[in-house]
Symmetry: C2
Subunit: 460 residues, 2 copies
């Protein structure tokens, strides 16, 4: 036998059970997005490299999968270009297309390209795979799905509130308890202003973030090592030690940032989102299990976000962020359409999959594919079963007939392996009575039933 | 402003309305597949080129999109390799991965790679995009979806019957009247045997297929031009003139092929599928609108199929085949696992989309995204609306609030552009009454209602 075939490293096949679980995740997110008025779009897997290059930093450019031009791909390339080895410059000559690296840049491209057709504010969601030539490792793949929703063309903070509600609703449906951390780029800018260290804000948040692990003295030592002057570290103390409820944190920060206009603006924004979210979730079912917490050390996508920043952590599983997002003010500027503000979130489907698996939270229906199998005893018996099979399907029951008249044992093994909960049998005596023997595979119980009774029993 | 961005030729963006329609198509096919016990799998967009090359003929190899290796892609390639230009051989050195060209080869690879986990017969469906570096033209794209279902590991003709039922059910749900043409490779082999012209069978079917257009004399002339001897053409006359019901055609063909064992086997197979299909659709709702017709000139995928061959034509729109399939006996042989028989179908989503558009057959719900818009008159009014918005969504109504307190006119224009059927307004007087004004955007009618009444009205 030839060598067993394989797939490229970092990619995955999804078999039927995994697909059922993944579809449950995607369908849940899709339904909630739709409930909030977001509409789906899809963009091509391949984008022009001119669209993708330079959008993800130098490192990102290297991680783009590039597609060799069709036909004579060497046409017009000078032979000397090959002397330097496989450089990014040569790659750009051999390839004019690449696979999308995320959904954000294609979305920005989409908005600019289709701006005449769009009604603003435009709320879109998009659930598609992306590809990155990253070194594969546990939990990091070269092909993975992103599930993004964004609103562009509106500055209103109600959009942020709605995105928090979406996060709350999605995880409520999954049964995953989460904490949503919120921060605001403007608060971080305010802090940097206050201590005169605008370029050190990332170092500062990284150091402060270690408070629980290494203690206050070590945080202060690390800040000093990072080159923050003693007086600035002194001023940072109330921020490092910040604790209490959101309201308490906000009160403290208002005092600390009282001289920073932008810092106070950031606090106002966070306060609005926190209050409105509390108002609307209080009016909702009590099942809303998410807490929303101001977290000043949250600094994700700092080069990118300009207002609120969010991150979601699962409370019952040790795993990184499972959802994140924020406001950006210049998404489409890179394509020559400045001044369009947007805010978005992205659910991490692969990590949510891991959390649902670990907590075993999938509803039972998710794993049930076929509900009913008709055993095949031969041509006449199969012909007798076919109308009943058709009637079952008309009633919405997912049903099959074993296609071959194989040994009974083999057919029952098939039903077991496929975890089919009901099996219908009809031999001579059932056919004479115009009935079927229906076997409940869980209890082993058998009943002689008409087609109508069979359907009723399974629908139960 | 910079140059408007674009996408690679032959690819498409799908905006919200197109996506709603496409999802309707995919969801319908997916539900019917599931109803018949097929389970979904997904395979990676990228496959190893060793998996793809040589599977689609020399022309197919050229149409594969190849992905430039990451890192130093020139490593280990001799400089002299570049002298000959961008040849396929050099491409294979620069690239070890390619984008999938269809779903069949990845499925075969999947079955062989995962054979230890699979329970046979294995019924899988797969709905994913494929990529081909074809010259783009009207109706032909470089990225398009395929919607395949296959059963492997069973020789039973019941699988063929079930696939015909699936086709019937899918098009019944779409409301598209179709004719399913059926043929069998064994019949064609029998005909070739009978006249001693095994290598001419494609020419023969092509010529016979023109009967309606060019008449019997011209068909016979074309057969002679194709090099078919006069006595063979004489023997073909009953086949060329074949007409009548399926039963009449079968009776004629039994007589014509009475000396060909394989030909008679093919007729038996077709007859079984026709009879069982008739039996089961007679037992079903009378709405089953497909006719199933023996069509001897159907010769699609002749190098590939070994038994029944199907093709579906829409009756009310001039367009090519919108679905096709057949039985193959050696799908996994190319990966070293011989002897596994399979049968499958593939729905052509893009053409079905065109047919549904031309006949305007989409259900009304498909185009309704958001059902209810709350107008935003300012911060206090928005805060009043949010709990009602949350209650509407809890009732399953897709609803939004306009995020900004923009001019009333702008918000109503937004509702119109988005085709939102209901708008809820609450200013001072509504707030004092604890109610909302609900406007039906179609009739213009306005009513003062409570939140419960508002929900009831929209759910109607």
């Amino acid at each position: 036998m030839a060598q067993k075939p394989s797939i490229p490293k970092g990619t995955r096949d999804f078999g039927p059970s995994e697909m059922a679980r993944r579809n449950y995740i995607f369908d849940t997110i899709r339904s909630v997005y739709a409930l909030y008025g977001f509409r789906q779009i899809e963009t091509p897997a391949m984008e022009n490299l001119t669209t993708l290059m330079g959008k993800y930093g130098e490192e990102g450019d290297k991680l783009l999968f590039k597609i060799l031009d069709s036909g004579d791909f060497l046409r017009g390339i000078d032979a000397s270009a090959f002397a330097e080895g496989g450089t990014p410059k040569l790659a750009a000559q051999l390839c004019e297309k690449g696979l999308r690296y995320d959904l954000t840049v294609p979305f920005a491209r989409y908005v600019v390209q289709h701006r005449e057709e769009l009604t603003l504010p435009f709320r879109r969601f998009q659930i598609q795979p992306v590809w990155r030539a990253d070194r594969p490792q546990k939990g990091r793949y070269r092909e993975f799905y992103q599930c993004d929703a964004d609103v562009v063309g509106s500055d209103s903070l109600l959009n942020e509130v709605e995105l928090m509600q979406i996060v709350d609703e999605v995880f409520r449906r999954f049964g995953i308890r989460v904490c949503i951390k919120i921060n605001n780029r403007k608060i971080l800018t305010g802090i940097a202003e206050m201590i005169g260290q605008a370029d050190k804000i990332v170092d500062i948040t990284v150091a402060i973030d270690k408070l629980d692990k290494i203690g206050l003295d070590n945080v202060n030592a690390e800040l000093a090592e990072d080159g923050i002057p003693a007086d600035a570290i002194e001023k940072l103390q109330p921020i490092i030690k910040l604790s209490g409820t959101n309201a308490e944190k906000i009160a403290t920060m208002r005092e600390v940032l009282k001289d920073s206009e932008i810092g106070l603006k950031g606090i106002d924004e966070v306060e609005f989102v926190l209050n409105q979210f509390a108002l609307v979730t209080a009016s909702s079912q009590p099942g809303s299990a998410s807490s929303l917490e101001l977290e000043l050390t949250l600094a994700r996508g700092l080069n990118y976000y300009t207002g609120c920043i969010f991150e979601v952590k699962a409370l019952d599983v040790e795993i990184g962020s499972i959802t994140g997002g924020g406001r950006y003010d210049n998404l489409t500027g890179i394509f020559g359409m400045p001044g369009l503000s947007g805010v978005g979130i992205s659910f991490g489907a692969d990590r949510i999959y891991d959390v649902l698996n670990q907590l075993d939270l999938y509803p039972k229906e998710v794993s049930t594919a076929t509900q009913l199998l008709f055993v095949n005893f031969g041509e006449a018996e199969a012909a007798y079963a076919l109308p009943a099979l058709a009637a079952s399907r008309r009633a919405g029951i997912r049903a099959e007939i074993y296609p071959d008249a194989a040994k009974m044992k083999k057919q029952m093994q098939y039903a077991n392996a496929r975890e089919i909960p009901f099996v219908a049998l009809a031999g001579e005596s059932e056919m004479a009575a115009g009935k079927f023997t229906l076997k409940d595979m869980q209890t082993g119980e058998q009943k002689l039933v008409t087609v109508e009774e069979l359907i009723a029993q399974i629908e139960q």
